[in-house]
């Protein structure tokens, strides 16, 4: 079916440097996260609390969004609703036109990636400059993020040094991380002051106060949201929380789960545009709230948990599949375990359903998820939706589209045999008796493994001599 995923996976598995970069980065992140939670009881308490906060917010999502809009509007922040990515882009375009803006400077925003905003605006002749260091690097190289927290994590220091030297030949070559960072900082500094519009994402939106919270480490988020005279924030509708007291626990578990930091370097709370007498801040603040399939996910009680995600990336950092194939293999904006449940639901099982198969269901993702999203259960549900016949009973986009006659027939035959013990045992006995005649080439399995060896006789046969009761 979707051989594009398979092809990318194969290509990336064959790049030892990329794999080494991921291994080094992920091992470091896993250790740092673990160091942040020395007390297991405290960690579990915080996970339960965070899950409850997010579940509570989702349980009254429509109501909280209304409160949020009312309070933001009262504070002077202009709220826009976008049902699709395209609508979101058009809203941004209209704001830019109103301010006659020909360029924007962006803090990091995965939702703008989701909207394909850079391409959209660049086609209109508008320059979009990424100011997050990782995003800056991948933009230089014409790539997309390979991780939701660390977009350029697939690259190592030397690769970045070479890239900078190629793009900025006037600046002396260096592999010193601090010097490279300073270089980017100098290039970006003037852009912050010159850009008419700054764009950012949002980590939490507080309904009761009408506040936008933004977590960041580099100060570029603060620059993007204060230096230009217009600030546009874009985010998904699910990022709302009920009250200000919900934020500290989420912030605390977010940074520790994501980068293993006890606390973030910058925490911005944006509650209004610049007020009279204030020295900085934009004159206008806009919030674009994107649905893009989220309402549909919201409508299913089992799949709703997907929307609890606070975008920490811990599931990605701990995923044994992600670490080997890298974020770009997924062919989606959100990679790794969260991407494998979110993207098939947004785009449809017919489009990205294969991602639900790209998991051993090992559970490393749900073990670390700060809001306890049952990722393996949702993967299982999506696999079911993909092949189920009663598609009228589910809202999942593309339900039933992955069902093939041959696979369905195989499972039907299997179920028939496994519910007829006489047939099943006759088959297994025959298999062990004539095991020498079984094929040793089992396709995919035997590429790197010897064919499984059947025993001389089955447990069922051997148990007869054990004196066990057969009632």
């Amino acid at each position: 079916m979707s051989s594009e995923f398979r092809n990318t996976v194969r290509a990336n598995l064959a790049k030892p440097e990329v794999r080494a970069n991921f291994y080094r980065a992920m091992d470091g992140l896993m250790t740092r996260r673990l160091d942040q939670f020395p007390d297991k009881v405290e960690l579990e308490r915080l996970r339960t609390q965070s899950m409850a906060i997010r579940a509570n917010a989702l349980s009254k999502l429509p109501e909280l969004l209304e409160t949020l809009e009312a309070n933001l509007t009262r504070n002077g922040i202009q709220v826009h609703w976008a049902e699709t990515a395209e609508q979101g882009n058009q809203i941004v375009q209209a704001i830019l036109e109103r301010h006659n803006a020909k360029s924007i400077i962006k803090g990091k925003s995965m939702v703008s990636e989701e909207m394909g905003m850079n391409h959209f605006l660049e086609a209109l002749g508008i320059e979009c400059l990424e100011s997050d260091l990782g995003e800056f690097i991948i933009q230089l190289d014409g790539e997309t993020p390979s991780h939701i927290i660390m977009p350029a994590i697939h690259k190592n220091r030397v690769q970045i040094a070479k890239l900078f030297h190629e793009k900025f030949p006037d600046i002396p070559y260096t592999e010193d991380v601090d010097e490279l960072t300073q270089m980017a900082r100098r290039i970006l500094r003037d852009k912050f002051y010159a850009a008419p519009v700054g764009l950012s994402g949002v980590n939490f939106m507080v309904a009761e106060t009408g506040t936008l919270c933004l977590v960041e480490n580099e100060g570029n988020g603060r620059m993007s949201t204060t230096a230009p005279s217009v600030h546009i924030a874009v985010t998904g509708i699910e990022k709302v929380v009920e009250s200000l007291s919900d934020v500290p626990p989420l912030l605390s578990i977010l940074t520790r789960s994501a980068t293993g930091q006890p606390i973030t370097t910058y925490f911005n709370m944006i509650s209004s545009p610049r007020k009279p007498g204030e020295k900085d801040g934009p004159e206008a603040v806009h919030l674009v709230l994107l649905d893009n399939g989220r309402s549909n996910i919201y409508s299913d009680p089992e799949l709703l948990a997907t929307l609890r995600c606070i975008r920490c990336g811990a599931c990605i950092n701990h995923c044994p599949v992600y670490v080997r194939i890298g974020g770009h293999s997924y062919g989606t904006v959100y990679p790794g375990p969260i991407g494998s449940i979110l993207e098939p639901q947004k785009a449809g099982l017919d489009v990205h359903g294969e991602l639900a198969q790209a998991s051993t269901l090992c559970g490393a993702c749900s073990e670390v998820c700060p809001v306890r999203i049952p990722i393996p259960s949702i993967l299982n549900r999506l696999r079911y939706d993909g092949v189920r016949k009663d598609t009228a009973n589910t809202n999942t986009v593309g339900s039933g589209k992955r069902r093939t006659l041959s696979e369905a027939a195989t499972w039907k035959t299997w179920a028939w045999a496994a519910t007829h013990p006489t047939i099943y045992h006759a088959g297994s006995t025959l298999a062990t008796r004539f095991k020498g005649m079984l094929p040793t080439n089992l396709g995919a399995w035997t590429t790197v493994r010897s064919a499984p060896k059947l025993a001389e006789s089955t447990l069922h046969q051997q148990a007869k001599h054990l004196g066990v009761d057969h009632e």
């Binding site: 696979e407 995919a444 025993a455």
Partner: protein
């Protein structure tokens, strides 16, 4: 402490039945030696997990239903596999939610134990190591670790064996890449995972690989065999039986 049950049901699993019957035999013998009567319903086939994980819930349910009927008495069901135990304990209640026989499924789920869990937590088994000095690496299955939460039990059993030295390998908690149908549906990724696991285990220089999961053993052992010079691998039950003089008895 609740009284030790004197009778249990044994669910052998299809992989043990076909590939590793010695694991099943040893498990039953360990239980019998500890004074537990073992009932092994002969009509058992498979727990239904392959279909469940592939999205074929109706087929999984019909197979699961046939198994549920085999365990009517209110006694424990002991399974020498974390993933089949996880299927019955965690997923049967999900699979049968809203079905007429939901109560039976929940009842069966409530009586399920993974073998090492049962040996340690219920039987409080005491082992005497009669074997020669040996080094082992332990691979704990993801289902035993995360779904059943019993990964420490195999460690505790091996810890009782005075002549057995456990050697840790790199990224020990990481999945071996089996994942049932995953190994077939995503063969390249699975291959990368199992080859890394094999390297980590080989790097320990141990004499033997031990696990509580035959699926993982088949995957890791198969990859080692393909490379030649495979480290011997065994299910924990077989290893324990051998170390405690089972074969001589």
């Amino acid at each position: 402490m609740p009284p030790t049950p004197d009778t249990i049901y044994f669910f052998g699993t299809c992989l043990v039945d076909l590939m590793y019957p010695q694991a099943g035999v040893s498990a039953m013998q360990l239980l019998q030696r500890a004074g537990v009567k073992v009932i092994f319903p002969p009509a058992q086939t498979c727990c239904g997990q392959p279909a469940w994980n592939s999205g074929y819930r109706d087929e999984a349910r019909s197979v699961a239903r046939a198994q549920i009927a085999l365990f009517p008495k209110p006694i424990p069901i002991v399974i020498p596999s974390g993933s089949c135990a996880g299927m019955m304990k965690v997923h049967y209640p999900e699979l049968f939610a809203g079905q007429p026989d939901e109560a039976q499924a929940v009842d069966v789920a409530s009586r399920v134990y993974e073998l090492t869990e049962f040996l340690v937590d219920v039987l409080h088994i005491e082992l005497q190591d009669l074997g020669e000095p040996l080094t082992v690496a332990v691979h704990t299955s993801c289902s035993a670790r995360r779904e059943m939460g019993v990964a420490d039990k195999i460690e505790s059993l091996l810890g009782q064996l005075s002549n057995v030295q456990r050697v840790e390998h790199a990224r020990k908690p990481e999945c071996c890449g089996f994942g049932g149908t995953f190994a077939v549906k995503e063969p390249e990724i699975s291959a990368a995972m199992v080859l890394d696991k094999v390297t980590h285990i080989r790097n320990t220089g141990v004499d033997r690989l031990i696990s509580q999961e035959c699926g993982c053993l088949m995957n890791i052992g198969g990859a080692m065999a393909k490379q030649g010079d495979a480290i011997p691998h065994q299910h924990i039950a077989e290893f324990l039986w051998e170390r405690t003089g089972g074969n001589a008895a």
